[in-house]
Amino acid sequence: MFELPIQQLIFLFVAAVAVFAAFNVILQRNPIYSALALIITMCALAGTFLMLEAQFVATMQVIVYAGAVMVLFVFVIMLLNVRTEEARQDRVKYLKLVAPLLFIALLGEVIFVARSVTTTAPPLATTGNEPAFGTVESIGEAMFSSYLFPFEATSVLILMAMVGSLVLARRRTMSEAETLGKLIEESGKPQLTPAEPVAKLEEKKEEIAA
């Protein structure tokens, strides 16, 4: 028996939690359970960030990801009242045979690569003037000096996302719908009624079934 240092034991525990929860994300049929499992994965990843001495990133992971983003997901799931997905039949039968082979090949590749890399972390530089690694200070200094342009670009992106999601998710008012209808009529193109694609879909299904 070889003995593992306490750090490696902690890493193995956190990694096992993360992988188990990640499997839960993709295997649960009910999206709300997937969301809860994803929150556990993110918290476990925050633990690995702490082990990598990235305290600020770990905090942001919990606040932004596990907090804000996942609350948005859970909110939408609740809002849309998603039913549990029923089991479906596979359309391609041989995939069940190919998948384990590909999995074993991938696992072999990962083990092969992982065995060849045995780097351990270099000691942290402890010079007096430099801000400590992983703190708000060191990240903020980089963010507002050499990486100012990406930072500003991100803020523009977030503004665009905000406006875009507002435009996409709001309901059209009655007057807007009327103007849109008039415009479509004036253009003289054939109108696509909502019933049409559904009917087409059902025709297609019947064709497939026949």
């Binding site: 240092p5 750090q7 490696q8 990694a15 992988v19 990640a22 499997f23 994300v25 993709i26 999206p31 997937s34 969301a35 993110m42 990843l45 690995t48 082990m51 990598l52 990235a54 990133v57 942001m60 992971q61 932004v64 990801y65 804000a68 983003v69 948005l72 997901f73 939408v76 849309l80 998603v82 997905e85 479906r88 991938l106 990962v110 992982a114 065995r115 780097t119 972390a121 270099p122 942290l124 530089a125 690694f133 992983g134 060191s138 990240i139 980089a142 963010m143 990406p150 930072f151 991100t154 992106l157 996302a161 905000m162 875009g164 999601s165 507002l166 996409l168 998710a169 309901r171 879909l201």
Partner: protein
């Protein structure tokens, strides 16, 4: 100390699980969550390399990835809501209007 390869292996495992989820799931929201999982595993790689190269710029990229992920989640969920309003379904198999 935990070697770098362990972090990379964990990241690869999570990314693969995310890809498998995108392929397996039929629910748009679940597929979206699998994409978030993949983004998270990439974040782990960035943070690990930032520690092992002793440069904090990697952590800065993680922030940008987080911001992009948050923006993507907001826009994507808005699209999902407006699609659900028109079609009353979340299954990707039935959202094939753009398919010829």
């Amino acid at each position: 100390m935990v070697p770098l390869s362990w972090y990379l292996a964990l990241s690869a495992a999570l990314f693969t699980i995310g890809v498998a989820g995108v392929l397996v799931q039929r629910n748009v929201i679940s597929i979206f969550m699998c994409i978030e999982l993949m983004l998270n595993s990439v974040n782990l790689t960035l943070v690990a390399f930032s520690r092992f190269l002793n440069q904090s710029t990697g952590q800065l990229f993680v922030f940008i990835v987080m911001a992009v992920a948050a923006a993507e989640a907001a826009v994507g969920l808005a699209i999902i809501i407006s699609v659900f309003r028109n079609r009353e379904t979340l299954s990707v198999d039935e959202e094939s209007l753009l398919k010829l």
